[in-house]
């Protein structure tokens, strides 16, 4: 347990800032050059702060390790953590959604069948707290360590076991938890950067999604069937 008490700091780096991107059509710019620039820019901009709204150090370390496994640093993007995914999830869990807004929470609570969907009394904040505890307990039993202390190959194997329903958490559905974790990673990676993830619009550059303002009445014909590279813009660029 002593090991668990050590604050996880390794994934945290300095602060940075990104300038608002200009709306420029860069036809002819090569895909790889675009991607490399994006990676360099995003890497320069790193985690803004260690001060989370709701996550504990252990939870932040777990999410960071999980997001870096799902979205590793490579030529297409920095790691999930460096893309801001832990910050994204911290804000989500601290906000209305995390607190169970728009969730029908009246009992009785019955397990039901898969067709019934989510039937737990837990808010998303409570759900992730319980899920992370259950996941770490399982990796300690299976690998002798908390999830974030595992080697990359072990992390990968642990997540695959959860995804396949082969990881047996104590009193918690590991497969369902993996899917919730996975969904949060995809949301953080691809959502508008105003939420704290997708720093420097790195995922939008990766796939070629131009973002805003998305007014194409005069371009729909001109762009049809053509490769168009547009410097992506986000909500903050217009605010």
């Amino acid at each position: 347990m002593a090991e668990d008490a050590i604050p996880r700091r390794g994934f945290l780096k300095g602060a940075g800032a990104a300038g608002a991107a200009a709306a420029t059509v860069l036809s002819g710019r090569s895909e790889s050059a675009q991607a490399q620039t994006a990676v360099a820019e995003a890497a320069a901009e790193t985690a803004a702060s260690e001060a989370y709204l709701t996550l504990t150090a252990i939870e932040a370390a777990f999410l960071s390790a999980a997001y870096d496994t799902l979205i590793p640093a490579d030529k297409l993007s920095p790691s999930g953590t460096d893309c801001g995914l832990v910050t994204f999830m911290d804000r989500q869990l601290a906000g209305a959604w995390g607190g169970g807004a728009r969730l029908y929470r009246s009992g009785p609570f019955v397990q039901g069948k898969p067709e019934h969907g989510y039937q737990l009394p837990l808010t998303p904040r409570e759900y992730f707290a319980a899920g992370i505890k259950a996941a770490n307990a399982w990796t300690r039993k299976t690998y002798g360590k908390d999830f974030d202390r595992l080697a990359p190959a072990e992390r990968d194997a642990a997540l695959k076991a959860m995804e396949a329903g082969k990881a047996e958490f104590a009193d918690f559905n590991a497969k369902q938890f993996f899917e919730a974790l996975y969904q949060s990673a995809m949301e953080g990676f691809f959502a508008d950067p105003i939420y704290g993830g997708n720093r420097n619009k790195v995922s939008w550059r990766m796939v070629g999604y131009p973002g805003l303002p998305a007014t194409y009445a005069n371009k729909a014909l001109e762009y049809r069937g053509k490769k168009v590279v547009i410097e992506p813009q986000s909500i903050a660029d217009f605010s």
């Binding site: 799902l70 297409l76 728009r102 929470r105 019934h116 969907g117």
Partner: protein
């Protein structure tokens, strides 16, 4: 003790398409009308403004414009013998909320139903014999025909600035339009939208197989337009943010821009938002409703609004709930087949297959409506002899935006995460689109709505309990349509054709179709088999009219909105031209 308001001529329960259209027609006839809307007031200029309306996470993932399930949801089970549990969040297609209703967040797809759908049971018996329809397929005729509704379809299209290409103008077939549509008196108000690359690929492939592709009719206006109310509708920006979003360009038709600006100027009309109707006041002996009771959500006060005419113009679930909770009409019982309220709940049987192509698709340029479609396998447009099912649907390249949290299809076998996943995502994002099959949902004896015995909504009423599963007819129909879609994908020489996804398994979380829910207060010719008559007038209260998808006896394979709008005009015409002269039943039971 409820506060009692001054009596009015008519009250609308819900201010989406049906409530807005009905309120407009009744105020034009000189009636005083109050429009009650459970949700918030909405102003496109403020609520749908750039840049914040282009927020996939807020509107699509967190479903900002949808009904808050903590206020009201429904319970779900597959068969009458199972325990139903509440949808605690929208794991199945959601229900809209707020002024404009589903008409604010819809995609804009604007179909007329084909003529045979309105006389479905008679039509199938005439073509395939009396014994061809399975005993538990409780399909019915509507009590109206396509020709009855045609002028009102025409009106709704001029209200919505609908873009499209006629395929049947007064009986004359026109190349490039939908040859299977019922005869139209007029061409569409607007020319078709610009066809996207996906639409071009689809159309060419469909044509090569002898099918008849055409631009899907869209209330995403291809050009600025003055609508039937004299209001200016803007030009579609192909922004790829229709469904689940409001329109910043005032180009996607909605009650907010097509009707309400005129209605709000009318001194005969009063809008009350945040007004949550809990029940109707029903005089069973007199077969009349006296008004409605609602909660003002801003004060918590209970208010009674007396009215000469009550119009239920909420969503299908809520219209049915209000009938059942107010004791109006006999609840449907699947064991006996007797009763009418809650009967014939239907959904939409959708399926798809992904296409991965070399061409640049640019999915982020798009409208809510698919660029093209075929109706060759719609309804009874093809011979069903020996097929073992009835009905069909349209097939279309369903590409309505490239919003990247959700639109990232990958070829079968691609890893779900890691560097290989990222590479594949970057490789295919701009080169993939689904062929969607949008099929019928024909009524089944065991598919119905009633009141849940356990779970309650925020104001203490029982939740609607939905007993529903896809039927053998649905599964067979879906397999057939999906196979046709695969044929189109192959004819298009797609580099990779994804695993076909015909509808399989039980209805429920993660396995719903489109957000199209119908039935519960169905229309018809006989009070023992329908809740409302052909004018949408309740058989059990002559001053009560029920609107919307709730009145569909079963759900055809086209999207429901245009028929909902046309039915509102049809019913309004019956009220203003017949009912007001002599209030009482418009059809003798």
């Amino acid at each position: 003790m409820a506060k009692i308001m001054k009596a009015v001529d008519a009250v609308m329960v819900g201010m989406g398409w049906s409530g807005s259209i009905m309120a407009r027609e009744l105020t034009k006839a000189g009636l005083s009308v109050v429009g009650l809307e459970r949700g918030a007031d909405k102003s496109p200029a403020e609520d749908f403004a750039l840049p914040r309306i282009r927020d996939e996470h807020k509107y699509r993932v967190r479903q900002e414009m949808m009904l808050d399930t903590s206020i009201e949801t429904h319970t779900v089970r597959n068969t009458p013998s199972e325990l139903a549990l509440p949808m605690r969040k929208w794991d199945i297609p959601p229900v809209g909320d707020g002024l404009g209703g589903a008409g604010a967040h819809w995609n804009g797809v604007t179909w007329r139903f084909i003529p045979s759908e309105f006389v479905l049971r008679s039509h199938l018996i005439a073509r395939y014999g009396r014994n061809a329809i399975p005993a538990d397929m409780t399909i019915q005729d509507w009590g109206i025909t396509y020709d009855d509704l045609e002028p009102h379809y025409d009106h709704f299209e001029r209200l919505c600035a609908t873009s499209g290409k006629a395929g049947n103008l007064r009986g004359q077939k026109i190349a490039g339009g939908n040859p299977f549509e019922g005869a139209r008196q007029n061409e569409y108000p607007n020319k078709p939208l610009i066809m996207s690359q996906a639409g071009m690929i689809f159309s060419k492939a469909a044509q090569s197989l002898g099918y008849h592709p055409f631009p899907t009719p869209a209330s995403n206006s291809s050009a600025a337009y003055i609508n039937s109310e004299g209001l200016t509708i803007g030009q579609c920006q192909y922004c790829g943010h229709c469904e689940y979003f409001g329109c910043e360009a005032n180009a996607k038709a909605s009650p907010l821009i097509c009707v309400l600006p005129v209605l709000m100027q009318d001194k005969n009309f009063e809008l009350r938002t945040q007004s949550y109707v809990s029940r109707l006041i029903y005089d069973k002996q007199a077969k009349k409703v006296r008004g409605v009771v609602y909660v003002d959500r801003r004060t918590g006060e209970e208010i009674e609004q007396p009215a000469e005419i009550v119009v239920l113009s909420a969503y299908a679930f809520n219209n049915t709930l209000l009938l059942l909770h107010s004791g109006i009409g006999e609840p449907y019982d699947p064991a006996t087949g007797k009763g009418v309220v809650g009967k014939n709940y239907c959904h939409q049987t959708t399926s798809n297959v992904m296409m991965f192509v070399d061409e640049e698709i640019n999915p982020w340029i798009g409208t809510g409506t698919s660029p093209a479609a075929i109706d060759d396998f719609q309804g009874d447009n093809f011979d069903h002899a020996g097929l073992g099912f009835f009905g069909g649907g349209f097939i279309a390249p369903a590409i309505s935006g490239g919003r990247p949290i959700q639109v990232r299809a990958l070829p079968p076998g691609t890893p779900r995460w890691g560097s290989a996943w990222k590479e594949a995502t970057a490789r295919w994002y701009n080169h993939a689109f689904p062929l969607n099959c949008h099929g019928i949902s024909y009524a089944h004896r065991n598919n119905y709505l009633d009141l849940d015995p356990t779970y309650k909504d925020a104001i203490g009423r029982p939740l609607i309990r939905m007993t529903y599963n896809y039927t053998e007819n649905d599964y067979k129909m879906s397999a057939f349509l999906t196979e046709k879609a695969v044929g189109i994908a192959r004819a298009a020489n797609a580099r990779i054709v994804g695993n076909p996804q015909p509808r399989r398994g039980n209805f429920g979380a993660g396995n719903g179709g489109a957000a199209h829910h119908t039935g519960g207060a169905i229309m018809g010719t006989d009070p023992t088999t329908s809740a409302v008559n052909r004018y949408l007038q309740s058989w059990d209260a002559s001053n009560l009219f029920v609107m919307g998808g709730a009145t569909f006896p079963q759900n055809p394979g086209h999207n429901p909105t245009e028929t909902i709008g046309a039915l509102a005009y049809w019913s309004a015409a019956a009220i203003t031209s017949q009912y007001l002269k002599s209030p009482g039943p418009l059809v003798r039971a």
